[in-house]
Amino acid sequence: MKGSTLSVLHCQVVEEEVELSLGELCQACGAESDLVRQLVAHGVLEPLGDSPQGWVFVGTSLQRTRQAMRLMHDLEVNLPGAALALELMEQIRQLQQQLLTTARRPRSG
Protein backbone atom coordinates (compact mmCIF):
# COMPACT_ATOMS: atom_id res chain seq x y z
CA MET A 1 0.00 0.00 0.00
CA LYS A 2 1.13 3.44 -0.92
CA GLY A 3 1.70 5.72 2.02
CA SER A 4 1.64 3.02 4.67
CA THR A 5 5.24 3.59 5.61
CA LEU A 6 5.02 7.36 5.93
CA SER A 7 5.61 8.75 9.37
CA VAL A 8 3.18 11.20 10.90
CA LEU A 9 3.83 14.76 9.83
CA HIS A 10 3.65 17.53 12.36
CA CYS A 11 2.44 20.92 11.40
CA GLN A 12 1.97 24.43 12.65
CA VAL A 13 -1.26 26.40 12.75
CA VAL A 14 -0.30 29.36 10.62
CA GLU A 15 -2.82 31.76 12.15
CA GLU A 16 -1.52 31.15 15.67
CA GLU A 17 2.05 30.02 15.58
CA VAL A 18 3.59 31.54 12.49
CA GLU A 19 4.91 34.97 11.60
CA LEU A 20 5.95 35.65 8.03
CA SER A 21 8.42 37.93 6.35
CA LEU A 22 7.53 39.63 3.08
CA GLY A 23 9.36 36.91 1.14
CA GLU A 24 7.72 34.09 3.06
CA LEU A 25 4.24 35.55 2.60
CA CYS A 26 4.80 35.94 -1.16
CA GLN A 27 6.10 32.40 -1.35
CA ALA A 28 3.19 30.99 0.62
CA CYS A 29 0.56 32.73 -1.50
CA GLY A 30 2.32 32.58 -4.85
CA ALA A 31 2.09 36.38 -4.88
CA GLU A 32 4.38 38.97 -6.40
CA SER A 33 5.96 41.15 -3.73
CA ASP A 34 4.56 44.19 -5.48
CA LEU A 35 1.04 42.95 -4.83
CA VAL A 36 1.76 42.47 -1.13
CA ARG A 37 3.28 45.96 -0.94
CA GLN A 38 0.12 47.37 -2.46
CA LEU A 39 -2.05 45.43 -0.02
CA VAL A 40 -0.03 47.04 2.77
CA ALA A 41 -0.38 50.47 1.14
CA HIS A 42 -4.16 49.99 1.04
CA GLY A 43 -4.28 48.88 4.64
CA VAL A 44 -5.42 45.34 3.88
CA LEU A 45 -2.32 44.00 5.59
CA GLU A 46 -0.73 45.69 8.57
CA PRO A 47 2.75 44.29 9.17
CA LEU A 48 4.93 45.27 12.09
CA GLY A 49 8.23 46.94 11.22
CA ASP A 50 9.15 50.06 9.29
CA SER A 51 10.53 48.88 5.99
CA PRO A 52 9.57 46.03 3.66
CA GLN A 53 12.82 44.25 4.60
CA GLY A 54 11.82 44.35 8.25
CA TRP A 55 8.11 43.63 7.85
CA VAL A 56 6.64 40.92 10.04
CA PHE A 57 3.18 39.66 9.07
CA VAL A 58 0.92 37.86 11.54
CA GLY A 59 -0.33 34.44 10.42
CA THR A 60 -3.83 35.65 9.48
CA SER A 61 -2.18 37.68 6.69
CA LEU A 62 -1.99 34.47 4.69
CA GLN A 63 -5.80 34.10 4.68
CA ARG A 64 -6.32 37.78 3.84
CA THR A 65 -3.80 37.82 1.02
CA ARG A 66 -5.24 34.69 -0.55
CA GLN A 67 -8.75 36.03 -0.18
CA ALA A 68 -7.74 39.31 -1.85
CA MET A 69 -6.08 37.40 -4.68
CA ARG A 70 -9.17 35.22 -5.17
CA LEU A 71 -11.46 38.23 -5.28
CA MET A 72 -9.26 40.03 -7.78
CA HIS A 73 -8.91 37.00 -10.01
CA ASP A 74 -12.44 35.60 -9.77
CA LEU A 75 -14.40 38.84 -9.80
CA GLU A 76 -12.02 40.78 -12.04
CA VAL A 77 -11.88 43.65 -9.56
CA ASN A 78 -8.82 45.79 -8.97
CA LEU A 79 -6.94 45.98 -5.71
CA PRO A 80 -8.87 48.89 -4.17
CA GLY A 81 -12.08 47.02 -5.03
CA ALA A 82 -10.86 43.85 -3.35
CA ALA A 83 -9.70 45.90 -0.35
CA LEU A 84 -13.14 47.44 -0.04
CA ALA A 85 -14.84 44.04 -0.31
CA LEU A 86 -12.59 42.63 2.41
CA GLU A 87 -13.34 45.54 4.70
CA LEU A 88 -17.09 45.20 4.19
CA MET A 89 -16.88 41.43 4.72
CA GLU A 90 -15.07 42.05 8.00
CA GLN A 91 -17.78 44.52 9.05
CA ILE A 92 -20.49 41.98 8.23
CA ARG A 93 -18.67 39.37 10.27
CA GLN A 94 -18.48 41.72 13.26
CA LEU A 95 -22.15 42.67 12.96
CA GLN A 96 -23.15 39.02 12.81
CA GLN A 97 -21.07 38.39 15.90
CA GLN A 98 -22.82 41.26 17.69
CA LEU A 99 -26.17 39.95 16.62
CA LEU A 100 -25.36 36.54 18.04
CA THR A 101 -24.32 37.89 21.41
CA THR A 102 -27.17 40.36 21.85
CA ALA A 103 -29.99 38.56 20.06
CA ARG A 104 -33.34 37.91 21.65
CA ARG A 105 -33.12 38.20 25.35
CA PRO A 106 -35.85 36.37 27.22
CA ARG A 107 -38.96 38.51 27.55
CA SER A 108 -40.90 38.83 30.70
CA GLY A 109 -44.40 37.57 30.04
Binding site: V8, L9, V14, E15, E16, Q27, G30, L62, L75
Partner: protein, 315 residues
Protein backbone atom coordinates in the same frame (compact mmCIF):
# COMPACT_ATOMS: atom_id res chain seq x y z
CA UNK B 1 -21.23 12.57 -20.80
CA UNK B 2 -23.62 15.43 -20.29
CA UNK B 3 -23.61 18.47 -22.54
CA UNK B 4 -23.04 21.67 -20.54
CA UNK B 5 -25.03 24.66 -21.66
CA UNK B 6 -22.59 27.42 -20.81
CA UNK B 7 -24.87 30.10 -22.21
CA UNK B 8 -27.63 29.03 -19.89
CA UNK B 9 -25.23 28.94 -16.93
CA UNK B 10 -24.39 32.59 -17.52
CA UNK B 11 -27.95 33.46 -18.54
CA UNK B 12 -26.96 34.94 -21.90
CA UNK B 13 -28.12 34.23 -25.43
CA UNK B 14 -26.01 32.35 -27.97
CA UNK B 15 -25.21 35.53 -29.88
CA UNK B 16 -24.21 37.47 -26.76
CA UNK B 17 -21.28 39.82 -27.27
CA UNK B 18 -18.04 39.46 -25.35
CA UNK B 19 -19.12 42.42 -23.24
CA UNK B 20 -22.48 40.85 -22.41
CA UNK B 21 -20.71 37.70 -21.33
CA UNK B 22 -18.25 39.56 -19.16
CA UNK B 23 -21.05 41.58 -17.61
CA UNK B 24 -23.18 38.51 -16.86
CA UNK B 25 -20.24 36.63 -15.39
CA UNK B 26 -19.14 39.47 -13.12
CA UNK B 27 -22.60 39.97 -11.76
CA UNK B 28 -23.22 36.29 -11.03
CA UNK B 29 -19.68 35.74 -9.75
CA UNK B 30 -20.20 38.45 -7.14
CA UNK B 31 -23.42 36.79 -6.12
CA UNK B 32 -22.07 33.27 -5.73
CA UNK B 33 -18.43 33.79 -4.82
CA UNK B 34 -17.75 31.44 -1.90
CA UNK B 35 -15.91 34.18 -0.01
CA UNK B 36 -19.05 36.32 -0.16
CA UNK B 37 -21.87 33.78 -0.16
CA UNK B 38 -21.98 31.24 2.64
CA UNK B 39 -24.82 29.15 1.21
CA UNK B 40 -23.90 25.49 0.86
CA UNK B 41 -24.33 25.34 -2.92
CA UNK B 42 -22.59 28.65 -3.67
CA UNK B 43 -19.23 27.02 -4.31
CA UNK B 44 -20.63 24.56 -6.84
CA UNK B 45 -22.52 27.33 -8.63
CA UNK B 46 -19.45 29.51 -8.67
CA UNK B 47 -17.34 26.73 -10.17
CA UNK B 48 -19.91 26.21 -12.92
CA UNK B 49 -19.87 29.95 -13.66
CA UNK B 50 -16.09 30.00 -13.80
CA UNK B 51 -16.02 27.12 -16.23
CA UNK B 52 -18.66 28.67 -18.47
CA UNK B 53 -16.82 31.98 -18.46
CA UNK B 54 -13.47 30.37 -19.13
CA UNK B 55 -14.89 28.91 -22.33
CA UNK B 56 -17.09 31.75 -23.54
CA UNK B 57 -14.64 34.59 -22.92
CA UNK B 58 -11.99 32.93 -25.06
CA UNK B 59 -12.87 33.30 -28.77
CA UNK B 60 -11.10 30.04 -29.72
CA UNK B 61 -12.75 27.98 -27.03
CA UNK B 62 -16.10 29.58 -27.66
CA UNK B 63 -15.91 28.76 -31.38
CA UNK B 64 -15.04 25.14 -30.63
CA UNK B 65 -17.79 24.91 -28.06
CA UNK B 66 -20.38 26.40 -30.43
CA UNK B 67 -19.32 23.93 -33.08
CA UNK B 68 -19.71 20.99 -30.69
CA UNK B 69 -23.10 22.37 -29.68
CA UNK B 70 -24.30 22.33 -33.28
CA UNK B 71 -23.16 18.75 -33.83
CA UNK B 72 -24.66 17.59 -30.51
CA UNK B 73 -28.11 17.27 -32.01
CA UNK B 74 -31.17 16.47 -30.02
CA UNK B 75 -30.55 18.10 -26.69
CA UNK B 76 -28.27 17.81 -23.75
CA UNK B 77 -29.52 14.47 -22.50
CA UNK B 78 -28.71 12.66 -25.74
CA UNK B 79 -25.50 10.68 -26.03
CA UNK B 80 -22.79 12.65 -27.82
CA UNK B 81 -21.91 11.95 -31.45
CA UNK B 82 -18.75 9.86 -31.84
CA UNK B 83 -15.52 11.87 -31.85
CA UNK B 84 -17.48 14.89 -30.71
CA UNK B 85 -14.45 16.33 -29.02
CA UNK B 86 -11.73 15.31 -31.50
CA UNK B 87 -9.72 17.67 -33.59
CA UNK B 88 -9.90 20.91 -31.66
CA UNK B 89 -6.62 22.60 -31.01
CA UNK B 90 -5.95 25.51 -28.73
CA UNK B 91 -3.21 28.02 -28.31
CA UNK B 92 -3.36 27.43 -24.60
CA UNK B 93 -3.81 30.92 -23.26
CA UNK B 94 -5.04 29.35 -20.09
CA UNK B 95 -6.73 31.50 -17.55
CA UNK B 96 -6.87 30.13 -14.09
CA UNK B 97 -4.33 28.64 -11.81
CA UNK B 98 -4.31 25.28 -13.53
CA UNK B 99 -5.64 23.58 -10.42
CA UNK B 100 -9.24 24.55 -11.04
CA UNK B 101 -11.66 21.67 -11.15
CA UNK B 102 -13.53 21.28 -14.40
CA UNK B 103 -16.44 19.14 -15.42
CA UNK B 104 -15.84 15.94 -17.39
CA UNK B 105 -17.41 17.69 -20.35
CA UNK B 106 -14.87 20.51 -20.19
CA UNK B 107 -11.94 18.14 -19.81
CA UNK B 108 -13.07 15.96 -22.68
CA UNK B 109 -13.22 18.97 -24.96
CA UNK B 110 -10.31 21.09 -23.82
CA UNK B 111 -8.15 18.54 -22.04
CA UNK B 112 -6.50 18.71 -18.69
CA UNK B 113 -3.54 20.91 -19.22
CA UNK B 114 -1.00 22.38 -16.92
CA UNK B 115 -1.63 25.82 -18.30
CA UNK B 116 -1.12 28.88 -16.24
CA UNK B 117 0.78 27.68 -13.25
CA UNK B 118 1.23 31.14 -11.81
CA UNK B 119 4.34 32.94 -12.91
CA UNK B 120 6.94 32.81 -10.20
CA UNK B 121 8.55 35.99 -9.06
CA UNK B 122 11.99 36.55 -10.54
CA UNK B 123 14.85 34.96 -8.73
CA UNK B 124 12.71 33.14 -6.23
CA UNK B 125 15.06 30.54 -4.78
CA UNK B 126 12.52 28.05 -3.50
CA UNK B 127 10.10 25.66 -5.06
CA UNK B 128 6.40 26.47 -5.05
CA UNK B 129 4.26 26.17 -1.98
CA UNK B 130 1.09 24.17 -2.42
CA UNK B 131 -2.37 24.59 -1.02
CA UNK B 132 -5.14 22.12 -0.40
CA UNK B 133 -8.38 22.14 1.50
CA UNK B 134 -9.14 19.32 3.90
CA UNK B 135 -12.22 18.48 5.92
CA UNK B 136 -11.91 17.11 9.43
CA UNK B 137 -14.43 16.21 12.11
CA UNK B 138 -15.29 18.68 14.82
CA UNK B 139 -14.13 16.12 17.36
CA UNK B 140 -10.65 16.19 15.78
CA UNK B 141 -10.41 19.85 16.78
CA UNK B 142 -11.35 18.94 20.37
CA UNK B 143 -9.02 16.02 20.80
CA UNK B 144 -6.41 16.38 18.11
CA UNK B 145 -6.13 13.51 15.71
CA UNK B 146 -3.94 11.68 13.32
CA UNK B 147 -5.53 11.73 9.90
CA UNK B 148 -4.57 10.24 6.59
CA UNK B 149 -5.13 12.91 4.01
CA UNK B 150 -5.34 11.98 0.38
CA UNK B 151 -4.37 14.67 -2.06
CA UNK B 152 -4.64 14.73 -5.81
CA UNK B 153 -1.54 16.29 -7.24
CA UNK B 154 -1.47 17.51 -10.82
CA UNK B 155 1.60 16.02 -12.46
CA UNK B 156 2.97 16.52 -15.95
CA UNK B 157 3.77 13.34 -17.86
CA UNK B 158 6.44 12.98 -20.55
CA UNK B 159 4.05 14.31 -23.21
CA UNK B 160 3.37 17.41 -21.18
CA UNK B 161 -0.17 16.39 -20.37
CA UNK B 162 -1.56 16.88 -16.93
CA UNK B 163 -2.66 13.90 -14.95
CA UNK B 164 -3.64 13.49 -11.34
CA UNK B 165 -1.36 11.52 -9.06
CA UNK B 166 -2.50 10.55 -5.62
CA UNK B 167 -0.50 11.20 -2.51
CA UNK B 168 -1.32 10.21 1.05
CA UNK B 169 -0.02 12.11 4.03
CA UNK B 170 -0.42 11.19 7.68
CA UNK B 171 -0.93 14.46 9.45
CA UNK B 172 -1.15 15.19 13.17
CA UNK B 173 -4.11 17.55 13.47
CA UNK B 174 -3.38 19.84 16.42
CA UNK B 175 -5.92 20.36 19.18
CA UNK B 176 -7.85 23.60 18.80
CA UNK B 177 -7.60 24.08 15.06
CA UNK B 178 -10.51 26.08 13.64
CA UNK B 179 -12.36 26.38 10.39
CA UNK B 180 -10.51 28.53 7.85
CA UNK B 181 -7.15 28.18 9.55
CA UNK B 182 -4.13 26.85 7.70
CA UNK B 183 -1.74 24.10 8.72
CA UNK B 184 1.77 24.44 7.41
CA UNK B 185 3.65 21.24 6.54
CA UNK B 186 7.23 22.22 5.98
CA UNK B 187 8.89 20.77 2.90
CA UNK B 188 5.77 19.04 1.55
CA UNK B 189 5.19 21.36 -1.42
CA UNK B 190 6.99 21.11 -4.76
CA UNK B 191 10.41 19.47 -4.74
CA UNK B 192 13.23 22.01 -4.87
CA UNK B 193 15.08 23.01 -8.06
CA UNK B 194 18.72 21.91 -8.31
CA UNK B 195 18.89 20.70 -4.75
CA UNK B 196 17.19 23.82 -3.37
CA UNK B 197 14.72 23.54 -0.50
CA UNK B 198 11.29 22.10 -1.23
CA UNK B 199 8.20 24.24 -0.95
CA UNK B 200 5.71 23.97 1.90
CA UNK B 201 2.23 22.55 1.85
CA UNK B 202 -0.62 24.54 3.36
CA UNK B 203 -3.80 22.76 4.35
CA UNK B 204 -6.87 24.91 4.81
CA UNK B 205 -9.11 23.38 7.45
CA UNK B 206 -12.84 22.90 7.07
CA UNK B 207 -15.20 20.86 9.21
CA UNK B 208 -17.50 18.13 8.01
CA UNK B 209 -21.04 19.32 8.67
CA UNK B 210 -22.25 17.91 11.99
CA UNK B 211 -25.88 16.87 12.50
CA UNK B 212 -26.07 18.60 15.91
CA UNK B 213 -23.40 21.24 16.23
CA UNK B 214 -22.72 24.46 14.34
CA UNK B 215 -19.37 26.16 14.64
CA UNK B 216 -18.58 29.85 14.60
CA UNK B 217 -14.89 30.49 15.13
CA UNK B 218 -14.11 29.00 18.55
CA UNK B 219 -17.75 28.88 19.62
CA UNK B 220 -20.05 25.94 19.07
CA UNK B 221 -23.84 26.08 18.93
CA UNK B 222 -26.38 23.38 19.65
CA UNK B 223 -30.13 23.60 19.20
CA UNK B 224 -31.64 22.06 22.32
CA UNK B 225 -35.30 21.05 22.06
CA UNK B 226 -37.21 21.42 25.33
CA UNK B 227 -40.82 20.75 26.29
CA UNK B 228 -42.92 23.84 27.06
CA UNK B 229 -43.18 22.85 30.72
CA UNK B 230 -39.42 22.38 30.95
CA UNK B 231 -38.96 25.93 29.67
CA UNK B 232 -41.67 27.24 32.01
CA UNK B 233 -40.78 25.38 35.18
CA UNK B 234 -37.09 24.80 34.72
CA UNK B 235 -35.50 21.42 34.25
CA UNK B 236 -32.32 19.47 34.36
CA UNK B 237 -31.48 17.89 31.01
CA UNK B 238 -28.61 15.86 29.60
CA UNK B 239 -26.92 17.64 26.73
CA UNK B 240 -24.45 16.06 24.29
CA UNK B 241 -21.17 17.86 23.75
CA UNK B 242 -18.76 17.25 20.86
CA UNK B 243 -16.48 15.59 23.38
CA UNK B 244 -18.77 14.08 26.02
CA UNK B 245 -21.94 15.26 27.68
CA UNK B 246 -23.11 17.47 30.51
CA UNK B 247 -26.19 17.94 32.64
CA UNK B 248 -27.57 21.39 32.06
CA UNK B 249 -30.04 23.14 34.28
CA UNK B 250 -32.60 25.16 32.38
CA UNK B 251 -33.82 28.15 34.35
CA UNK B 252 -37.55 28.50 34.94
CA UNK B 253 -39.26 30.95 32.59
CA UNK B 254 -36.87 30.45 29.67
CA UNK B 255 -38.11 31.88 26.38
CA UNK B 256 -37.61 30.21 23.04
CA UNK B 257 -34.16 30.88 21.50
CA UNK B 258 -32.64 31.61 24.90
CA UNK B 259 -28.95 30.85 24.78
CA UNK B 260 -27.37 29.04 27.66
CA UNK B 261 -23.63 29.37 27.69
CA UNK B 262 -21.35 26.55 28.69
CA UNK B 263 -18.16 28.45 29.29
CA UNK B 264 -15.03 26.91 27.88
CA UNK B 265 -16.86 23.99 26.22
CA UNK B 266 -16.24 25.31 22.70
CA UNK B 267 -13.13 24.53 20.70
CA UNK B 268 -10.13 24.23 23.04
CA UNK B 269 -7.46 26.90 22.93
CA UNK B 270 -5.49 29.12 25.31
CA UNK B 271 -8.77 31.01 25.58
CA UNK B 272 -11.19 28.21 24.71
CA UNK B 273 -14.45 28.92 22.94
CA UNK B 274 -17.87 28.56 24.54
CA UNK B 275 -20.68 26.20 23.74
CA UNK B 276 -24.15 27.67 23.46
CA UNK B 277 -27.24 25.57 23.90
CA UNK B 278 -30.02 27.42 22.09
CA UNK B 279 -33.39 26.49 23.53
CA UNK B 280 -36.05 25.46 21.03
CA UNK B 281 -39.44 25.00 22.58
CA UNK B 282 -40.94 21.89 21.03
CA UNK B 283 -44.65 21.15 20.95
CA UNK B 284 -46.20 17.70 20.99
CA UNK B 285 -47.57 16.80 17.54
CA UNK B 286 -50.74 15.17 18.76
CA UNK B 287 -52.79 15.30 21.88
CA UNK B 288 -55.05 12.70 23.45
CA UNK B 289 -58.33 13.84 24.96
CA UNK B 290 -56.74 14.04 28.40
CA UNK B 291 -53.78 15.98 27.10
CA UNK B 292 -56.02 18.42 25.26
CA UNK B 293 -57.86 18.94 28.51
CA UNK B 294 -54.59 19.74 30.21
CA UNK B 295 -53.85 22.41 27.56
CA UNK B 296 -57.32 23.83 28.06
CA UNK B 297 -56.78 24.00 31.80
CA UNK B 298 -53.53 25.83 31.10
CA UNK B 299 -55.31 28.29 28.84
CA UNK B 300 -57.88 28.95 31.51
CA UNK B 301 -55.31 29.40 34.24
CA UNK B 302 -53.46 32.02 32.17
CA UNK B 303 -56.43 33.69 30.54
CA UNK B 304 -56.26 36.95 32.41
CA UNK B 305 -52.51 37.30 32.89
CA UNK B 306 -50.80 36.30 29.70
CA UNK B 307 -51.39 38.34 26.60
CA UNK B 308 -48.50 37.69 24.21
CA UNK B 309 -49.89 40.13 21.62
CA UNK B 310 -50.56 42.98 24.01
CA UNK B 311 -48.33 45.29 22.02
CA UNK B 312 -50.25 44.72 18.78
CA UNK B 313 -53.78 44.75 20.14
CA UNK B 314 -56.39 45.24 17.43
CA UNK B 315 -59.01 47.79 18.48
Amino acid sequence: MEFKDYYQTLGVSRDASADDIKHAYRKLARKYHPDLNKEADAEAKFKALGEAYEVLKDPEKRAAYDDVGKRWQGGADRPPPPDWNAGYEFSGADSGDGFAEHSDFFEALFGRRAGGARARAQGMPRAQDHHAKVLIDLLDAYRGAQRSIRLHVPTLDAQGRLSMAERTLDVAIPVGVREGQHLRLAGQGSPGFDGGPAGDLYLEIGFHPHPLFRVDGRDVYLDLPVAPWEAALGASVDVPLPDGSVTLSIPAGSADARKLRLKGKGIPSKTPGDLYAVLRIALPREASAAQRQAWQALAQAYQADFRPRAAMEVK
